[in-house]
């Protein structure tokens, strides 16, 4: 079992001055470090590489276990030997996104100009900037064309952006529970989460490093997030009106219900594992993204050559299916090869992390039929 082996995070630093990364905003940023992990072996002609993009608060540790760590990576049920992203066949890469706080350059990184964490001096970044930074990594690894790119939620959005920005470098993409622009409701939910952080006095205009953290604000923002990741039904099934550690309600403002306790726990653990400023930057990047901003959506896919599998979930009200259907429609208008499925499940937006059986079958079957350099190995019956 390869699962028993440990995986390690690696680091790639580029865009050293004076060759900084020029961001969409026009601001220069450099040097830039990306933390990344790889699983499986890159074949001799470098044609079996699959890039996985993580979601908003994810990291490069997608699969396997770190030494001395208890829990495996965030998409371990999907990535490994014999799994959907089969590491016996494919070389899987996952990098922490630009602006993140898990080893890649972000607001909590040291600003080389000042020797202190960037904080709010970190430039505003976009989904496009994140994708471009990962192109540097793929070039560094000597990969000219990815067999596939995939991700759920924000990760799906990045895979979509890659297909539009670098159409010649991507054979296929699997987009899960994603969209192409944020709606007013999605922006509004993010704004409440951001305001929760920014109204915490300990946030201190982003300058809290080495001091007390804006724990209360972060905790509340994560509670909001978690509500949006579940569905009404999944919350009802998981918690209902069950009480936490008591027989009857207390008629005070202590925690009565299990769901209250769960959200509090999630909020608290988030403070330990994530950076408040990163959350602000990344959520803003999501809100800024609009694939149809320069043209209509049909025009955006004009040069796309990638073969797509798009998966949505019936109970996902954060990134509802109709948004992916709009993508499918625009792709079809451009003669793009696309398959679309809406999986019936009650897990809400989180389904891409927990609804493994259906996704595994779809992903592994789809990857087998991706035409191109590995066509000789194609097990596709057609």
């Amino acid at each position: 079992m390869r699962d028993a082996q440990f995986v390690e995070t690696q680091y790639f630093t580029f865009a050293h001055p004076p060759h900084e990364l020029i961001l969409k905003s026009g601001v220069k940023l450099g040097p830039v470090t990306l933390a990344y992990e790889t699983y499986g072996q890159l074949n001799a002609d470098k044609t079996n590489a699959i890039l996985i993009f993580h979601a908003l608060t994810g990291d490069a540790h997608a699969a396997g276990c770190h030494k001395d760590a208890k829990d495996p990576g965030w998409w371990d049920p999907m990535i490994g030997p014999g799994k959907a992203f089969d590491t016996d066949k494919y070389f899987i890469i996952c990098a922490n996104i630009l602006g993140g706080c898990k080893g890649s350059t972000g607001p909590s990184s040291i600003n080389p100009m000042t020797g202190k964490p960037y904080g709010l001096n970190f430039p505003v970044i976009t989904i496009e900037d994140m994708v471009i930074s990962q192109k540097y990594l793929i070039d560094h690894l000597g990969i000219k064309k990815l067999l596939a790119a995939s991700g759920g939620s924000m990760g799906g959005l990045m895979a979509l952006e890659w297909s539009v920005r670098f159409p010649d470098t991507l054979q296929s993409a699997i987009l899960i529970a994603t969209n192409y622009k944020h709606t007013a409701q999605q922006i509004a939910l993010h704004e409440v989460a951001r305001q929760a952080i920014m109204s915490d006095p300990h946030w201190n205009k982003g300058d809290y490093y080495g001091r007390e953290l804006p724990a209360q604000g972060m905790s509340v923002s994560r509670m909001i997030g978690h509500i949006t990741y579940m569905s009404e039904r999944s919350m009802e099934e998981k918690f209902g009106r069950k009480l936490q550690g008591k027989e009857k309600v207390g008629y005070d403002f202590s925690h009565d219900f299990e769901v209250e306790n769960y959200l509090k726990y999630r909020g608290k653990s988030f403070v330990q594992r994530f950076d408040a400023n990163s959350y602000l930057y990344l959520s803003k990047a999501l809100d800024y993204f609009d694939l149809s901003e320069d043209t209509d959506l049909v025009g955006a896919f004009k040069d796309v050559k990638t073969k797509f599998l798009i998966i949505t979930f019936t109970s996902d009200w954060l990134y509802p299916s109709y948004q992916s259907k709009d993508i499918v429609k625009a792709m079809k208008a451009n003669d793009v090869d696309v398959s679309f499925i809406e999986i019936n499940t009650s897990y809400g937006h989180d389904s891409f992390l927990v609804e493994i059986d259906g996704q595994s079958k779809l992903v592994s079957d789809f990857l087998k039929c991706v035409k191109g350099p590995i066509a000789n190995n194609c097990e596709c019956p057609a």
Partner: protein, 211 residues
């Protein structure tokens, strides 16, 4: 809804033809090499995968049943999860050489609109229908006084997915009234194409049409 369909599908399989269904065999014959094909209600993708293999076609399907979508992806058939009635608006005019509506027309809410749309996005359409008025059905109605259950229509009144009941003649009239040309009519009874008496003897019929 789909569970009873498999019974009939087994029945349609032509054992001598490497297990290929007889209706599939004739549909594939109607399609020219290297065409672009859209299958409305493509089910598990069996027909499209054969069309891709035997006629080197670029193919896409639309299917409403989630389980069937998994089978399509397994077969390497590009498929969209959705209903036929609304799925055609995504395509521009004459995008496909052939649009297939096999055993699906009788299940759609608005067949007239679907045929019109099929002939808009496709240069030609291939329509497969069960014959509601073959001799067996007529005899059942006449002598038993009951809604017929036949090879082409194996359901009872309470579990049929069919919303529309039509005969070969009905479909011919439908086409004539709309100036739709029937290029080829293939009527099948007992696993074979029959040369005459289409409306009286066939279980199912396939039409290659264009406008």
């Amino acid at each position: 809804m789909r569970t009873t369909v498999s019974v009939r599908h087994e029945d349609l399989r032509h054992r001598n033809q490497i297990n290929m269904r007889i209706d599939h065999k004739y549909i594939i014959e109607m399609i020219e090499l290297n065409s672009r094909v859209l299958d409305l209600g493509c089910g598990n993708g069996e027909l499209l995968s054969l069309v891709m293999k035997h006629k080197n076609c670029r193919a896409a399907g639309i299917e409403i049943d989630e389980k069937a979508i998994y089978k399509c992806v397994e077969r390497g058939v590009s498929v969209s999860h959705g209903d036929i009635d609304s799925g055609l608006a995504d395509y521009s005019d004459k995008r496909f050489d052939y649009v297939i509506l096999n055993e699906s027309l009788q299940e759609v809410l608005n067949p007239e609109k679907v045929i019109a749309e099929a002939l808009r996005v496709g240069k030609k359409a291939i329509v497969g229908i069960p014959n509601f008025c073959n001799l067996n059905a007529r005899l059942q109605i006449f002598f038993l006084g009951r809604v017929p259950v036949t090879k082409g229509l194996p359901y009872k009144w309470y579990n049929t997915p069919n919303l529309r009941f039509l005969s070969i003649k009905d479909f011919r009239n439908f086409c004539a009234e709309r100036s739709i040309t029937i290029e080829r009519e293939c009527a099948i009874a007992n696993q074979k194409e029959i040369p005459f008496g289409h409306n009286l003897f066939s279980d199912i019929a396939l039409f290659l049409i264009h406008k």
